[in-house]
Every structure is written in C-alpha cells, then in structure tokens.
Homo-oligomer: 306 residues x 2
Amino acid sequence: MGERVFINDVGPRDGLQNQAKVLTPEQRVQLISALVDAGLTAIEVGSFVLPSAVPAMAGTDKVIEALPGGIASSQVYYSVLVPNQKGFQLAQSAGVRCVEMVVASTETMNTENIRRTTEQAMAGCEQMIGLSKEGGIDSLACISTAWECPFEGLVDADIVIKMSDQMLNWGATRVVIADTIGAAGPDAVHELMNSLVQRFGAEHLACHFHDTRGMGVANTYAAVSAGIRHFDASVGGLGGCPFAPGATGNVATEDLALMLSQAGYETGIDLKKLVAAADLAGEMTGSPAGGHSSRWLKRQIEKGAL
Amino acid sequence: MGERVFINDVGPRDGLQNQAKVLTPEQRVQLISALVDAGLTAIEVGSFVLPSAVPAMAGTDKVIEALPGGIASSQVYYSVLVPNQKGFQLAQSAGVRCVEMVVASTETMNTENIRRTTEQAMAGCEQMIGLSKEGGIDSLACISTAWECPFEGLVDADIVIKMSDQMLNWGATRVVIADTIGAAGPDAVHELMNSLVQRFGAEHLACHFHDTRGMGVANTYAAVSAGIRHFDASVGGLGGCPFAPGATGNVATEDLALMLSQAGYETGIDLKKLVAAADLAGEMTGSPAGGHSSRWLKRQIEKGAL
C-alpha cells in the first residue's frame, strides 16, 4: 500500500451550489451515498447559509439527518461550511464533527463576498475556531483567492503565510489554501505550498483547486510534490457557474484519484464507482459532469479493464 | 524576459493524421500560416509516408512548397516526419532542414506499428541520423511509448536511457521522449526525465505528451521541473482518433503556452492568435478543437483582457 492521500469531495457543497438546477435534499443524499459507495472518506455535505442567499444549500439539516452512517460516521468524515456564528450553532446542534469557515486573502474579496473587512472576517474565524475547540469539533479554516483575487490581482505570499499562522495558532485543525477562481499555475502552487509546508508542516495544510484554466491536475501534482496530502475536489468537476461563461468547477475527483493512484498513492477510491457517481451528478443537475480523464476511464470500464 | 521554452506544434502532422477528415494541402498551409502568425517558431508540417497508409499526409511536398517563409525559413523551424530512407530522400530533395524519425521502446509496438523489429528500427534510425549529418540536416529521434506500451505495459527506464544514449551517440540533434498513448503521469515523467537530463543534458531532450488521461499539462510541468525546455504540442489538442473512442490528441499548445507563460517562461506565442488558429483547425476538420484552457481564454478575449 502506498502513502495515503486524502480527497475531500466538495461536490455536494461547492459543486452543487454553483449549478443552475437546485437539487432536493433527497437527491443530495443520493449523490453523497454514491460517493461513500465509491470509497470517499471525506465529503463536504452542505452549508448552513441563508437559503435566500444560496438556495441550493437549503435543507442541509435534512441532508445531515439522512447521511449514510449518520453525521458522526466513523467511516466518512463529513464536514459542513459555516459562514458565521449562527451557522456554526446550527451545525453544532446537528451533530457536525467538522466545520469549514472561509476568509479571503484580500480586503476587496471579503467586502464583496461576505460584506466584512478582512479584520472582521478573521475575528469571526477566530471565534468559530474557539467555539469548535470548546465543542470538540474539528475546524477547517479556508483562505480563499490565496494566489489571485479577481479584484486585486496576484496575492502576496506573506499575507497567506500570516493568515495561516494566525488560524493555526487559534487552533484550526487544518488550513485550506484555495485557488477559488482557478487562476494559479503549478509553479506558483509549488512555491507557496513549499513555504507553508516548511513553516507549518504538511499535516496542517490542504489545497483546494478549481480547473478554470485547465491546470487543476498540474497544481495538485505541484502541491503533492511540496508534501501536501489533503485535497478538496469535486466529483465530475461539478461546479462552475452556468451564469458565468468561462467559469469552471473544482478539479474533478476522478482526475486527482487517477493521477494519485498512478503515482503510487492510496486514495481508497474505486474509480469505476466514482465515474458512476459523476454520471449520477450529471443526470441530476442536467449538465454533463466529468473530468478530463472521464472519456478514458469510461473506455476502460467498457473494456472491463477497470 | 523569462527563460525560453520551445514549443513545436505537431498539429499539422500528428494532429491532422488522426482526424477523420482529410484536409487539402492548401488547408494545411492555411493552418500552418495561422500558427506562424501566432508566434510558433517550430512546426512539424507533414510526413513523407505512403499516401495509401496515411492519406492525411499525402501532398506534403505541396505543403512544403507553399510554407510561409519557405521550408528553410530562418523565422520558423519546420520539420517533417520520415519513416525510412525513401522518406528521408524525399525530405532532403524538398529542402527540409529538420527530419524526425520514430522508434518505439518495445518489440511489439515496433512490429505492430512499422513491421520491423526494434533492432531493424534502430538500424534504420542510425542510418537516417548519419544521412542527416552528411546532408547538414537536423535530426529528431523520437522514442515512442517511452513510459507505457499498449501491448507490453510499463516500460523499463533503462531501455529508454539506452536508446537515447545510442541515438545521441549517432549524432541525433535531440531525442524526443514520447508518451504516445497518453498513459504516463507526472510522477513517472519527472522520474524518467530527471534521469535522462542528468545523463544527457536537457538541451538534447524534448518531450511529447498526449492528453488521453487529462495529465498532459501536469506532465509538461513535471518535465519542465526536471529541466526540459523543448516540447511537442498540438494546436487545439488536435488529434485523437475518431475511430478509437477514448483516444485523445496531443496536449493542446494553448494549455502549455498559458501554463508556461504564467510560470514566467517565454514561448513567443500570442494566445489570442493561437485560439484563432485552434478555431480554424476545428472548422476545417469539422471536429471542435480546443484545450482545457480554451473556454477561459475565449472569455478573456471577449473581455478584451487578452
């Protein structure tokens, strides 16, 4: 068995919230079940945000109630995104054992996206990390637009290093370095992740890539080379935004799983079942889902080689 | 200006020969002209093979006669594939200044593909490299299926190292290490290319990737990290085989050019014009052409940001 690399499938959250079609909680559970069946051991299952702001995430409480193995399953590490203290309390009441909170690297992105200054967003993050620790809940602190911001352009590595340092000092279980708009290339990824790994250790870090410029797999490889072993990805590359031409979803879980298994890493994922989960996601959302490797994977399945 | 990375666009040869639709020599020249206009400084423009075997490459002599700047242009490094001595002589008569010859890494692939044993294929290669030197013509010696063979599976690195050594000793200008079936992942690419660079120096090596499993860009990054500065790629990812479901073309030139320019390398390529060339290729072949970054690139063009 090779060294383990952990993939957290964020399709049911980051993927679905960017689809034109809103799925029912039952459909979302069906997709999550397909992912569990495919061997995913970490899944972001929803978020406690205002349903008026993100209709696709309404009913996350119902999703949680119907999760395979239950929200506190020992087989699958379920997490939920929480935007604020209210969301955190809902997650805690629902028995969630891992919450994710997001702060952008730049002032403009925080203001535009969550109507808070970076200072306010960081204060909220500190508070939620504190509440998580008190409640025995894991916390993933995500730094979004960590390489490039759509408003402010390239982001200084020192900002990301400083924010990571603060989040880890407050007690975050892991800091997730996110290329939210899919702007980074593998060179930049290797450089930043290498700096962060040197300072904080790979076990406290994760990466989250989008495939907007087709560099998601290359970026993952660059981060793996820097020592990172935790990645977000989305089944079938689910995501993108049907209203924003050119936007693309998260890097596809199947592309990562294939690349990592070829490199000798153990992901626990059954690629055949994962392709079936991606097909299910495509059917339910009405927009075809699949990574860059899907055509080849399907051919292997047809041939009985997978 | 960043360090130079050289992209040789093989779309007019490796790309077009795998398309269902056969283009006229005039159309092929039109595509090549679009590539020259986009700043490509190396292009594989055709091959001297039997027209009955590869109908798409019939009339390569006519293509050569109409190349922008002429076949011996000092602006663009035009090359031609030659399968044997007969093809070499035709290329030489046509004034070609760089020929490419291919030997597979395995016995079965050589037998199936060119009806020769590896020994015979290597002897032919030695002869053509010798003729090239005599004639003052550059020679690119390509080792196909360098990581994996569809018949024999994974290829031992020692075989590729030994073949490269022989080809360079005979006087090949450069050895092109080719993942012909798009089976390699970035880990394997980095390992082999690192070994080869240590032994022979990066200036004597090139890489040729296919995107079958969606790892072409990651593989290029891995090879760049190992020191490689010469790559084959195909405009719009042209290639694949319409008769072989699941087969995919060369890695797209635009994906490489974008990734490399983001990493600070100089490719000389104008991405806007390259996207236009990919569109032209798609129109002419009747099958949409474009890399993983094309949707994003087109959006940048629409916005006037490129």
